[in-house]
């Protein structure tokens, strides 16, 4: 962590303190992908309109493509890579695999992040809750149903108490 008052931005990413001198206007997405090598957060539109780049910021699903670093300062950021613990997929990721809920998979990182937050806040969601939580996430391949099925299965399946993203 940088000392108080020094230039640069300090934040936490997947539990690790990060200090960066990158221009504070830089969207968080590019710090994650290009400086920290966390390529799982993806660029889709750069306008907060597709959900491909969603990460948790202080626990809230947030597009990282239009969040400048200065706005992320002091925050706790969790990316798709931070959901797995010790290499084990979390329950949403496991359920997405079990349901084979993907085609190209480009949309999945943001969706998995948002669904993990949903289950933390709403442990027993209805299908409607899941759809509403994912409404701002676009999927062009049409895997919506499988994703909804997977999130519902993650809520009721084994291990639901253990990993809450």
């Amino acid at each position: 962590m940088a000392p108080e008052g020094s230039s640069g931005t300090a934040l936490t990413v997947n539990g690790t303190p990060v200090h960066t001198s990158v221009d504070p206007e830089t969207p968080l997405l590019y710090l994650l992908r290009n400086d920290l090598g966390l390529k799982g957060t993806r660029f889709g539109c750069g306008q907060g309109l597709c959900g491909a780049c969603v990460v948790l910021v202080d626990g809230h699903p947030t597009p990282s493509c239009d969040l400048p670093l200065w706005a992320a300062a002091g925050r706790d950021v969790v990316t798709v890579e931070g959901l797995a613990s010790e290499g084990c997929p979390n329950r949403v990721q496991r359920a997405v695999l079990d349901e084979q809920a993907g085609q190209c998979g480009y949309c999945l990182s943001g969706i998995v992040v948002a669904a993990t937050a949903l289950l933390r806040d709403t442990p027993e969601p209805t299908a409607d809750d899941v759809r509403t939580a994912l409404e701002r996430h676009l999927c062009r391949c049409g895997t919506h149903h499988r994703i909804v099925r997977a999130v519902l299965a993650a809520a009721t399946g084994p291990g639901q108490r253990h990993d809450d993203g």
Partner: protein, 715 residues
């Protein structure tokens, strides 16, 4: 002894891609680690093609799935299989790979038999271990001399692929774990040593010319500004710097605009007044049928220009070392791209290598090839360094090729019973293909800008390959007399190329809508009416199965209940007239807008290679088609595409996506064909037919927006 060359005559029966690349070792290697490395000329488009190939190879070789590793496609190694496009991908590659693997297995058994001093016929293969049934002596594939693979395939007269298993296999997707865990997997995630980032500034409209630009304002950390002709771009050490610099350039660039094409007709429609190439598909006259015609019904059906709208925009990485160019691309055709790049950079083809790397789902000819040129031109400014280009969302929706707008005129001559005696179709559309190499053009957008040209008009694939504009324009019914004519409009106002299903989407929508209108004219059940004109047993089977699954009540036009604002519709097609069969039943609610509540699908794609893969493709295809049908239209202002973000080009979201139920009829004795494009046309027509059922109006122009519905109700 005969004088015929046995190798030559056997090769004639090889699957086409194997005949073109007969060397077994081109396709397959046995690695030291106990794996089988499979090289195919087909790329993963996000549709699970690799999983299908893995499964086919494992089955034929007699090894566990986990031993098969499909290698990335590259012009540097592997068979040149051309494009990965349409349903041929699965069909061709799977057929070739099955034959290759069956021969490899037989060859390895021969070698093992010699080694074990056993009768080859008495040996069995268990996960790559060849041995006697009793298990007293055995040797593994990986202990044998792999040089035996260095020979040409002999063909099915020597050894045939195994019969299909009774239960279709259901392997999990091989690529999904990486994607779910957020591991780098996409081309966008590739980060090569020394990599820098490039961005391109596009002309605001087609055929605009760059007059001035102030390159002094791009700011710090920009390594190069590239201006050649109308091509304008930047290279920077950081990605966000390249993005900002490109925006700064765009702000100061002055463009000389072409004359406004206003007055040349509705830009959202194919221009019927423009010159057109005529495509004669079929013309069968039947004097008796013509004489029996008592009524003629005509209608025109249209769809607008559509965007590919992949969630990840087009991307490429390129690096020059001297005159050698290496490109990483998600192109559907790495060989044609290599040839095009060689032409536009004036270098020999052997100096260009194109490696395929996966990207977001690809639904046809998107900006992937263009991005490869962009990266390569920018990389010239920084020799030795790889340059990654990622298109902006605006360029992805506005500069990539669009699926052409279409208009289909259908005319049915009805006999005294109201059955079809004569049928004619006229299809109006710009061409559906402008891929690199088609129509004699390099097809690369940035190269056209550099050279201050406009890309030539798109063409259509030949009829033998399923056609483009006229794909599925010939209905699959037993109409005694029919004429089908295409009019490929020669127009360059809007850049068009292949989008999933090509012309089949609109043609099936048109044919199956009119069939519905005709059935309702005589008060017949839409399913019964179709069956009365249909003898193909596989077509009947999918229709009847979909109807049964949906609870279709023939005595009441399909519906199971009579809610005032609910409707149900059915439609089917055999994709390309030669490929997979698909029938769809749609349920809709029509209140303020059309809501599709459920789609029930029955399909027949021959022998099932991977059941869940087929189901996933059908679900995804139907949902994408529902999105096209309900919402999608590229907005145009003269030459300019104005629908350049997700607000102006909306697609179907989670809350509006219908339930989808799929059943696949397995036909183990029929060849495997693709499922990715077969649901599109039937889904559109089934939805439109359900709207007709609900509201009693014929809506013949897509998308089925609330304004369109209101307009139809008022007329």
């Amino acid at each position: 002894m005969t004088t015929a060359d046995p190798a030559r005559s056997a090769a004639d029966t090889l699957p086409p891609s194997l005949a073109a690349n007969p060397r077994l070792s081109t396709w397959l290697d046995l690695s030291d680690t106990g794996h089988v490395l499979v090289r195919v000329g087909k790329v993963e488009l996000g549709q699970g093609i690799w999983t299908a190939l893995t499964q086919a190879a494992a089955e034929e070789l007699g090894v566990d799935d986990s031993r098969v590793v499909v290698q990335p496609v590259s012009t540097a190694a592997g068979p040149a299989e051309g494009l990965t496009a349409g349903s041929l991908s699965v069909a061709r590659s799977v057929a070739a790979l099955r034959q290759v693997c069956a021969e490899v297995r037989a060859l390895l058994i021969e070698v093992a038999a010699a080694r074990l001093d056993a009768d080859p016929a008495a040996l069995v293969v268990r996960d790559g271990v060849v041995g006697t049934a009793a298990g007293d002596s055995a040797v593994s594939y990986w202990d044998l001399d792999a040089d035996v693979l260095d020979r040409d395939a002999r063909g099915p007269s020597w050894v045939r692929p195994a019969p299909a298993p009774a239960d279709p296999p259901n392997p999990p997707r091989v690529d999904l774990p990486d994607k779910v865990l957020g591991r780098p997997r996409f081309l966008h995630d590739l980060h090569l040593p020394g990599q820098v980032w490039g961005r391109v500034v596009r002309p605001p409209v087609r055929a605009a010319h760059l007059s001035t630009v102030d390159t002094s304002l791009v700011g710090a950390h920009v390594i190069a500004t590239v201006r050649q002709g109308d091509f304008l771009g930047v290279v920077a050490e950081r990605e966000e710097v390249a993005i900002r610099a490109a925006a700064a350039l765009a702000d100061t660039a002055q463009w000389e605009l072409p004359p406004n094409p206003a007055g040349t007709g509705d830009p959202a429609q194919p221009r019927r007044s423009a010159p057109a190439d005529r495509i004669d598909v079929v013309n069968i006259c039947d004097a008796t049928a013509a004489v029996g015609v008592v009524t003629t019904v005509r209608a025109t059906y249209t769809r607008p220009f559509l965007a590919h709208a992949a969630i990840g925009p087009s991307c490429a990485i390129a690096r020059w070392a001297g005159s050698q160019l290496t490109v990483w691309s998600h192109s559907q055709g790495v060989y044609p791209l290599r040839a095009a790049l060689a032409v536009v950079f004036g270098v020999p083809e052997q100096d260009v290598v194109v490696h395929h790397v996966e990207a977001a789902g690809s639904y046809g000819h998107n900006g992937a090839d263009d991005a490869a040129f962009d990266a390569a031109l920018l990389a010239r400014a920084v020799p030795g360094r790889p340059v990654q280009v990622v298109w902006s969302r605006a360029d992805e929706l506005g500069s990539g090729p669009l699926g052409p707008a279409m208009a289909v005129d259908v005319e049915a001559g009805l006999d005294a019973r109201g059955h079809v005696a004569t049928w004619s179709v006229d299809v109006w559309s710009q061409g559906h293909v402008a891929r690199p190499g088609y129509g004699g053009s390099h097809g690369l957008l940035g190269a056209a800008h550099r050279d201050r040209q406009v890309l030539p008009p798109s063409v259509d694939p030949p009829l033998a390959a399923g056609g483009g504009s006229v794909r599925n324009a010939d209905p699959g019914y037993d109409f005694p007399a029919r004429r089908v004519t295409g009019h490929r409009v020669v127009d360059t106002r809007v850049r068009t190329s292949s989008l999933r299903a090509l012309g089949a989407f609109t043609n099936v929508f048109a044919i199956e809508s009119l069939m519905d209108e005709l059935s309702r004219r005589i008060g017949a059940d839409p399913l019964e009416y179709r069956l009365a004109h249909l003898s193909d047993p596989r077509a009947r089977a999918v229709l009847e199965r979909a109807a049964e699954l949906a609870g279709w009540r023939r005595e009441q036009g399909g519906r199971d209940q009579a809610a005032a604002d609910a409707g149900r519709g059915i439609a089917w097609a055999r994709y390309k007239g030669t490929s997979g069969y698909c029938a769809v039943v749609a349920d809709v609610e029509a209140v303020h807008e059309i809501r599709v509540t459920r789609l029930v699908i029955a399909a027949d794609v021959g022998r099932i290679v991977s059941l869940d893969g087929v189901v996933n493709q059908l679900e995804g295809g139907a949902i994408q088609a529902a999105s096209w049908t309900l919402l999608e239209q590229a907005r145009l202002d003269g030459h300019r595409v104005t629908s350049t973000d997700w607000e102006t080009y909306p697609i179907l979201r989670f809350r509006a996506v219908p339930d989808v139920h799929v059943e696949v009829i397995n036909r183990p004795d029929e060849p495997s064909v693709g499922a990715g494009e077969i649901a599109h046309g039937p889904t559109a027509a089934a939805i439109a037919n359900a709207v007709r059922d609900a509201l009693g109006v014929d809506v013949r122009d897509l998308p089925l927006t609330p304004e369109r519905i209101v307009a139809a109700l008022e007329t």
